[in-house]
Amino acid sequence: MSDIKRSVSLYSYQDEYYLGKLDLEGCLRETAATGATGVELLAEQMIKQFPLPIETEEFRNQWFDWMKKYNLTPSCYDAFLENHIYDNRTLTLKEQVKMMERDLRLASLLGFPVIRTLVSTPMDVIEGSLEYAEKVGVKIGLEVHAPFSLNSGWADGYMEMINRTGTKFFGFIPDMGIFCKNIPDVVRDKAIRHGAKEECIKIVDDAYANRVAKGFTKIKYDLNLGKANMEYRMANGMAEMMDAVKAAGGGPADLDYAGSSFTYSWSEPQDIIDNIDYIFHTHAKFYNVHEDLVETAVAIPEVVEAFKKAGYTGFLSSEYEGGEHLRMDLDVDSIEQVRRHQAALAKAIGE
């Protein structure tokens, strides 16, 4: 019996929310209907006039009433450190630490034990917020999202900080998009709808399969994310692949498909086991789960097996990201997708 818990990130329901089909309570109701017990929130997505309502007792009472009504537990609060809120300067370290502390405080007011921070958050901002995180009892989790990965030069930079400070309030939130065995089918289907050629699709799919087979060259630690990302792409054969697509007569849809293939990556699930002491929440990213509960890109059974083996007791939080490949031309049914994904997780966990 595993102690892995299931959660839903309300990010998943963004298409229904955008259309006004679901409001915040509606998203919570749908989350509960999937059998998940945890809820992950992007306050800036579904709480209007952020952060004002969270400062009011009225809203907080409403929030906790909903948690009780739907039998849900707050799992993770997704923070966005808007350190370029002005276009003419970057916020100072002090301003950024204050912003991080604001998010830690808001998360604690709503009962979240963890906040998600993004890879763009400077190390000294994280370090400068650790004391406050401990004070309010909220951990800071750095999202490990493709092209980043655990067990990499990039992650080593953070491990050094953990070891040096001895903090228990910082760790990693892996995004399961780092465990993609192939490019999601919804991305391929979109490319085909927009006129991509079969030959070019094959070049890109073969190049991806080749990267998976021989192992991705990992990204380095560099505060200049654009530069680090470009080096990573080149080291993983982007130039050669792009040349091959162009030589095959690839147009915009082909080149778009080729470029987007770098949004996905494959890490060994062993990375989870190696880093389990520093993982306290997980984004269970997915793109398209079919009726038979098979996800098209993320290797759910293998990855969940690694979490089980590692003795993980945190949440796997469904994060549906297939909608962005459909919404330009087709309807999106996030509710059904999340339902299927939760069923796939439950099956893999062995509930």
């Binding site: 990010y11 963004q14 298409d15 929310y17 955008y18 259309l19 006004g20 992007l42 800036e44 997505q45 579904m46 209007k48 006039q49 952020f50 952060p51 004002l52 966005f80 450190l81 808007e82 350190n83 370029h84 809120i85 002005y86 276009d87 003419n88 993004l118 890879v119 763009s120 958050t121 994310l225 654009g226 990302n229 919404r327 330009m328 031309d329 087709l330 309807d331 999106v332």
Partner: protein, 130 residues
């Protein structure tokens, strides 16, 4: 089945001040997944019936108050966030407004979330009737 709507189809209209038509307005939703302060709205670019609109002729109204794109650079109050899933009103200065009948907009929303290494440019194209 069609793509998700960006514009409010009922919102296109000419705008009058003191009996003079000074331009036209419409409502659209931000093509992003969370709300943001207007300070990170770096641009709205519009081509109306194939003609570029000047940046200084575009205003945006959120929660009852109106800002030029230049003014947006300093707007960080939570009450003026462009909420996810909510329309903002765009007003375009154009003496005499638009003629009755069909028109096209080729638009772009450009926003700069801090964590992204590049700006997000969302195309927003539509054919509409005044």
């Amino acid at each position: 089945m069609a793509g998700r709507p960006i514009y409010n189809p009922a919102s296109f209209k000419n705008v009058s001040v003191d009996g003079n038509v000074i331009g036209f307005s419409f409502e659209f939703k931000a093509q992003y997944y969370r709300s943001f302060t207007l300070s990170i709205l770096r641009d709205i670019q519009l081509k109306v019936d194939g003609e570029d609109v000047k940046r200084e002729d575009i205003c945006i109204t959120v929660n009852g108050d109106t800002f030029t794109l230049e003014e947006c650079r300093t707007v960080v109050d939570p009450e003026y966030r462009w909420e996810f899933g909510e329309y903002a009103t765009v007003t375009v200065k154009k003496e005499g407004g638009l003629s009755k009948g069909e028109h096209t907009i080729e638009g772009k929303q450009i926003i700069a979330p801090s964590y992204m290494p590049f700006q997000i440019e969302a195309p927003c194209n539509i054919t509409f009737t005044i």
